[in-house]
C-alpha cells in the first residue's frame, strides 16, 4: 500500500514537473518574440491562375516593403489557402477565430510580434481588398477595407493600411476603416505601367532582377511595384533573334504608358549591293552570314567593274574583285539608327586588258581594315564603308605592293545597301 502510494506520489511529482516544464516552455515561447517583426499572410482569390500567381507573390512582398520602409522586419506567413486545408474562408469580413488562431500559431512559430493578412478577392463581380493587423496575442489592430480598390490602385490602399498600422499598433486600439481613400501616404505611387512595343514576344526584365512579363498583342501591363511618380526604372528587353537591350523608363504619372524603342533584330543573313569609288563603272554583290547569333558575320563579296579613260581609242579594262570578310558589329545606344562595323579579310582582283599579248593579271591583297557606318531602316541597311586594302605585289599583277586607293593616297569608299533576313 505504502509502495503504491509512493509510486503514485512519484508519478504525480513527475507529472507535476512535466507540466511545469511545459508551462515554462510555453511561457518562454510566448515571450520569445522579435520586436517589430510582422508575419504576413495573404488571401488572394482572383479570376485566373496567372493573376493569383502574380498577386500572391507581389502583395506580400510589397506589404513587406512598406513595413520595412517604416522600420519593421517581416517574414512571409504564406498564402492562407495553403494553411487552411479543406476549410472554407468567407470572402468578406474579419476571418473567423479559428483562422486567426492558425495565423497566430504560425506567427508565433516565426517569433513575430504581429501578423497581418492581406486579402484581395474578386469573385462573381465581388471585389474585396482588406488588410488586417493583429498583435501576436490575437488583438486586432487594424481592419482596413477598400472595396472599390482594384488593380494597381490596391497598392496605394496597402500603403495607407500599413501607415495606419504603424500609427495605431502602439495604442492598443482596433481601427476599422471602410472605403479607404487613395493618397493617404506621403508618396504618390505609380498605379499602372503599360508598355507598348512592336517586339511581340519580347521578355521584359527588371534589370538584373526578375522577369516582369512578355509583350503580348503589342503591350505589357507591368505588375505593381512600389514606384513613385517621377522615378525611373531600368528594364532589359530580351527576345530570341534580337540584341538584348536596356531601356530606362521615366514614370511621369500614376498611369504611365510608355512606348518602348524597337529592338534591333539579329539578322542571320544578308545580301548586299555596293558601289565603290575608284571602281566607277561597276557593281558589287555580297553575302553576309551570322556566325555567333550576335555580332560576328562572315561574308563573301564580288565586285565587277570596268576601267575606262578619256584617251582616244581606249579599251575598257575588265576587273573582278573577289574577297572574303569577317565582320564585327558595334552598336551604339538603344534606338540610335547608326551602327559602326569593322571588317577585315583578303581577296584578289582579276584584270583583263583588251590588248595584244595581254595575260590575265591577278592582284592579291589583304584587307586589314574596313570601317562601316551603317544606317538601318527596317530590313535594309545603308552603309558607307572606308576600305584599306593593301596589294601584295605577288605574281603577275598591276598594282604592285601598295595601298589600294585612289590617287593621292585616298582610300576607297563604298556605298552599299544590305537586304537582310
Amino acid at each position: 500500500m505504502f509502495v503504491t502510494q509512493q509510486k503514485n506520489v512519484f508519478i504525480c511529482v513527475v507529472f507535476f514537473y512535466f507540466i511545469s516544464f511545459q508551462l515554462v516552455s510555453l511561457n518562454a515561447q510566448a515571450y520569445s518574440v522579435v520586436p517589430n517583426q510582422v508575419s504576413i499572410f495573404s488571401d488572394v482569390r482572383l479570376q485566373s491562375a496567372a493573376e493569383n500567381t502574380t498577386y500572391r507573390s507581389v502583395l506580400p512582398r510589397n506589404t513587406g516593403s512598406e513595413l520595412e520602409n517604416r522600420g519593421y522586419s517581416t517574414v512571409p506567413g504564406g498564402e492562407l489557402s495553403l494553411l487552411l486545408t479543406g476549410q472554407e474562408l468567407p470572402v468578406q469580413g474579419i476571418p473567423p477565430a479559428n483562422v486567426i488562431n492558425i495565423m497566430k500559431q504560425q506567427a508565433g512559430k516565426q517569433m513575430s510580434k504581429f501578423f497581418c493578412l492581406v486579402r484581395y478577392i474578386k469573385q462573381d463581380n465581388l471585389v474585396s481588398f482588406t488588410v488586417f493587423f493583429w498583435n501576436i496575442d490575437g488583438g486586432l489592430i487594424v481592419n482596413y477595407s477598400a472595396p472599390d480598390a482594384e488593380g494597381l490602385a490596391i497598392y496605394n490602399r496597402l500603403n495607407a493600411a500599413v501607415a495606419l498600422f504603424v500609427k495605431k499598433q502602439g495604442e492598443g486600439k482596433t481601427i476599422t476603416i471602410a472605403g479607404g481613400k487613395n493618397g493617404t501616404g506621403p508618396k504618390q505611387y505609380v498605379k499602372e505601367i503599360i508598355l507598348y512595343s512592336k517586339d511581340e514576344g519580347a521578355e521584359i526584365w527588371l534589370k538584373g532582377k526578375e522577369k516582369l512579363g512578355t509583350i503580348k498583342n503589342g503591350q505589357l501591363i507591368l505588375p505593381y511595384m512600389p514606384l513613385t511618380v517621377g522615378s525611373t526604372i531600368e528594364i532589359e528587353k530580351k527576345k530570341k533573334g534580337s540584341y538584348d537591350s536596356t531601356e530606362t523608363l521615366s514614370l511621369t504619372g500614376e498611369k504611365s504608358e510608355i512606348r518602348l524603342l524597337p529592338m534591333e533584330k539579329i539578322y542571320g543573313s544578308g545580301l548586299y549591293f555596293t558601289w565603290t569609288t575608284g571602281q566607277f563603272v561597276g557593281l558589287g554583290v555580297g553575302y553576309l552570314g551570322n556566325v555567333d547569333e550576335r555580332f560576328v558575320y562572315w561574308g563573301v563579296e564580288n565586285y565587277f567593274f570596268l576601267q575606262a579613260s578619256k584617251v582616244h581609242d581606249m579599251h575598257p579594262v575588265i576587273h573582278d574583285d573577289i574577297r572574303g570578310l569577317l565582320l564585327v558589329k558595334f552598336r551604339f545606344a538603344e534606338g540610335f539608327p547608326f551602327t559602326i562595323s569593322y571588317s577585315y579579310g583578303a581577296g584578289m582582283i582579276f584584270s583583263l586588258l583588251d590588248a595584244k599579248n595581254a595575260p590575265l593579271y591577278v592582284d592579291f591583297y589583304v584587307n586589314p581594315a574596313n570601317l562601316h557606318l551603317e544606317y538601318a531602316v527596317n530590313d535594309y541597311v545603308f552603309f558607307l564603308r572606308i576600305e584599306y586594302k593593301i596589294a601584295l605585289g605577288l605574281g603577275k599583277n598591276l598594282l604592285g605592293s601598295d595601298l589600294i586607293g585612289i590617287i593621292d593616297g585616298l582610300p576607297l569608299f563604298t556605298l552599299g545597301v544590305i537586304t537582310r533576313w
Binding site: T277, G278, Q279, F280, Q307, A308, S309, K310, V311, H312, D313, M314, H315, P316, V317, H319, P337, S351, L353, A355, K356, N357, A358, P359, Y375, V377, F382, G393, K396, N397, L398, L399, G400, D402, I404, G405, I406, I407, D408, L410, L412, F413, L415
Partner: protein
C-alpha cells in the same frame, strides 16, 4: 526627319565627289585602258640582282619608233634591250657605261644615238660603236644632237661646270671638232635633259631655234634655252647661254623627266610635286622669245614606280613595269578622245 537628313547628306556627298573627279579616278593605273600591246621582258634581265630600270624612245630617219629598256643592276653589267614599235626585241647590248638616252631631233641617216656614253647607229640594223669620243667623259650621259642647219652631229655632256661638245661629220661620223661653253656665270652645275629644234619638221635658220632643256643641279629648276642654230653649239668658257639667249624657266622638275613630243613643238616634263605637264613650245621670232603653253597635265603618281617614255611625233607612250618586266604600248595620256 533623321531619314531625310541622311538621304540629303548622301546626295550632297555624292554630288561633291562627283564634281571633283573623285568617283572616276581609278585605283588602277590610268593608262591601262589605252594599252594596245604588251611585251614581257622577264627573260632578258637577271631577276635575282636588285636593279633599277629606265626607258627611252628614239625615232630613226624613216619615222620608225624604237623603245630602249635599260637595266641598271647594283652589281654587274648594265644592259639595254631595244624593241621596235611592235614590241619585238631587236637588239641587246651590255656595257658598264650605258646611261640615259638623249637624242635630239631631227635625225638624218645614219641615225646616231648615245646611251650613256655608248654610241649606237640605227640605220636598218643596230650597230654599237662603243665610246663616242674620248674627248668627253665616258661616265657621263651624252646628248646626241644633229644640227640640221649646220649639218653636223654633236655629242654633248656636262662635266666640271661646262657643257662639252664634240662635233662629227654627217655620213661617216668622223670626229671634227670639240669645245665647251657655260650656261651661266655663277658656276652652277647643270644636267642636260634634252634638245630639239623649235620646229622639227622644217627648221628655218632664221625663224627657229635649237631648244636646249637643262636642269640646275642645286635646286632642280628646269630651263629651256633657245639658241641660234647658225652658231650652235657655242664656244668659249665665257659664253653664258642662259644669260645671252631667250630662256624659259619651268620651276622645279625631276631629273630625266623632259620628253620631246609633237615633233619637237611640245615637251612633257614632270615637276617635283609629281605633276606631269604637257607644253606646246614655240619661238616667237618677232619678240625673240621662247613661249611654252601648258596644254594638259596629269598626276604622275598614276605611274607609280613605272618608267614612261613618249614617242616623238605620235601621241603614244611606253610604260615599263620593273616589277613584272612588262612593257606596255599605250596611247598617251593627253590624247583626249572626248
Amino acid at each position: 526627319m533623321v531619314r531625310r537628313i541622311v538621304v540629303l547628306l548622301v546626295i550632297l556627298l555624292f554630288g561633291f565627289f562627283w564634281g571633283c573627279d573623285f568617283f572616276i579616278a581609278s585605283s588602277f593605273p590610268d593608262y591601262l585602258p589605252s594599252v594596245r600591246n604588251i611585251a614581257n621582258l622577264d627573260k632578258y634581265f637577271d631577276k635575282s640582282n636588285p636593279s633599277d630600270y629606265d626607258i627611252f624612245t628614239i625615232q630613226n630617219n624613216s619615222g620608225d619608233d624604237y623603245v630602249f629598256v635599260l637595266y641598271k643592276p647594283q652589281a654587274g653589267m648594265r644592259k639595254v634591250v631595244v624593241l621596235d614599235s611592235d614590241l619585238s626585241v631587236q637588239s641587246e647590248y651590255e656595257n658598264q657605261n650605258l646611261g640615259s638616252l638623249h637624242t635630239g631631233y631631227p635625225m638624218p641617216a645614219p641615225t646616231l644615238a648615245a646611251i650613256g656614253s655608248q654610241e649606237m647607229m640605227l640605220n636598218g640594223s643596230f650597230t654599237w660603236n662603243g665610246e663616242i669620243n674620248t674627248n668627253l667623259s665616258n661616265d657621263k650621259d651624252h646628248l646626241i644632237f644633229y644640227n640640221e642647219i649646220g649639218g653636223f652631229f654633236y655629242s654633248l655632256a656636262w662635266s666640271d661646270g661646262f657643257l662639252y661638245w664634240a662635233e662629227y661629220n654627217n655620213g661617216d661620223l668622223s670626229f671634227n671638232n670639240s669645245d665647251s661653253f657655260d650656261l651661266d656665270s655663277s658656276g652652277e652645275e647643270y644636267s642636260i635633259e634634252n634638245a630639239c629644234f623649235s620646229n622639227n619638221n622644217t627648221p628655218d635658220p632664221a625663224d627657229d631655234r635649237v631648244i636646249l632643256y637643262v636642269r640646275r643641279t642645286s635646286d632642280g629648276e628646269g630651263f629651256a634655252v633657245g639658241m641660234d642654230p647658225n652658231s650652235f653649239p657655242p664656244s668659249g668658257v665665257n659664253t653664258f647661254a642662259l644669260e645671252t639667249n631667250p630662256a624659259y624657266q619651268f620651276g622645279k622638275i625631276k631629273p630625266g623627266s623632259v620628253h620631246i613630243v609633237f615633233g619637237g613643238t611640245g615637251v612633257v616634263l614632270e615637276r617635283d610635286d609629281g605633276t606631269v605637264e604637257l607644253y606646246e613650245a614655240f619661238y616667237d621670232t618677232g619678240r625673240g622669245a621662247l613661249y611654252f603653253n601648258k596644254r594638259n597635265e596629269t598626276i604622275g603618281k598614276q605611274f607609280k614606280d613605272r618608267k614612261v617614255a613618249y614617242c616623238l611625233d605620235k601621241p603614244d607612250m611606253y610604260v615599263f613595269d620593273p616589277a613584272t618586266k612588262d612593257l606596255f604600248e599605250c596611247t598617251a595620256w593627253w590624247n583626249d578622245g572626248f
